[in-house]
Amino acid sequence: MRHEVQSDLPKLGHRDYIQGGSIFNDFLDISDQLFAPEWLDGAVITSFKLQRESFGNGRIIIADTGLEDVDANAAMIAKSPSRTVYAYYIDDGRPARREPYDEESFYQAVHVGTGVDGEFRFPRGRPRGDFVRAVVGANKRVHQKTDRFGAPLTHIQFLYLKGLDARCLRRSRDEYRVVIANVSVQDRGSEIWTINRVAVSSEGFSSEFRICYRGTKDTQ
């Protein structure tokens, strides 16, 4: 099975690129249409990777086997008891519309530590599309605020996430507590690559996944 659609991804707020969260959410929405939303029951997002930044629209491909002939800007693998879903986004350069965005006030209140760590509350009842946007945005903020590397980080980019329990994406009846903690750093000279553990919990629910970022040291 290989299903291909033209994307209609927006540039949110002031951004000149298409957010990874928007691509991720389109992957899920198109998969919902193909398989019915129940496909996410018991699913784990094994990986979601941003191979290259996207500045325009293009094609989204959903398949039931991995495609090796696709040079994708972003790719996702999700496994549920009923199926494995492979999703790819290829930027063709078609212009993207601009869409206002409320700048994620719910995670601007993130508590930020000094060691690439922090915590925020994800409010109950928000749509699933906001969850990954909030996690990505909050992780960006903890990278902006850390003093761990002797120089501020700029050009902070979300690269991938691994092992996300799809229950985190359900519209939650309870508020989530989301705790971000660094577990690994690779110092590549002018660049820092990090892996953070993201712990999500609410009443009777807890889950963890990993998220990776790259930042450039601002030595000027």
Binding site: Q51, K162, V183, S184, Q186, I195
Partner: protein, 85 residues
Amino acid sequence: MGNESDVRDRLMTILSGMLEKPPEYTPGADIFEDFGLDSLDQIEFLYSIEQAFGVKIADETFEEQGLREFDRLVAHLVEHQRLAS
């Protein structure tokens, strides 16, 4: 030899998980070119090694010591385990 076999098996388990299939080993195989890990996988792979073997390998060590070659990586980890014991 037992230790080398164990290290080899554990690395193959890590790689199988990342690649979604067992890598096709040949002597001298390069983890990226022959097994198909991409550049984003490198940090995850090094993190997985850190978790599994308790040894942190820096990117530059990985490149400078030719640890992209599977057999060299096995030898590196076996040596680390020998020194640690």
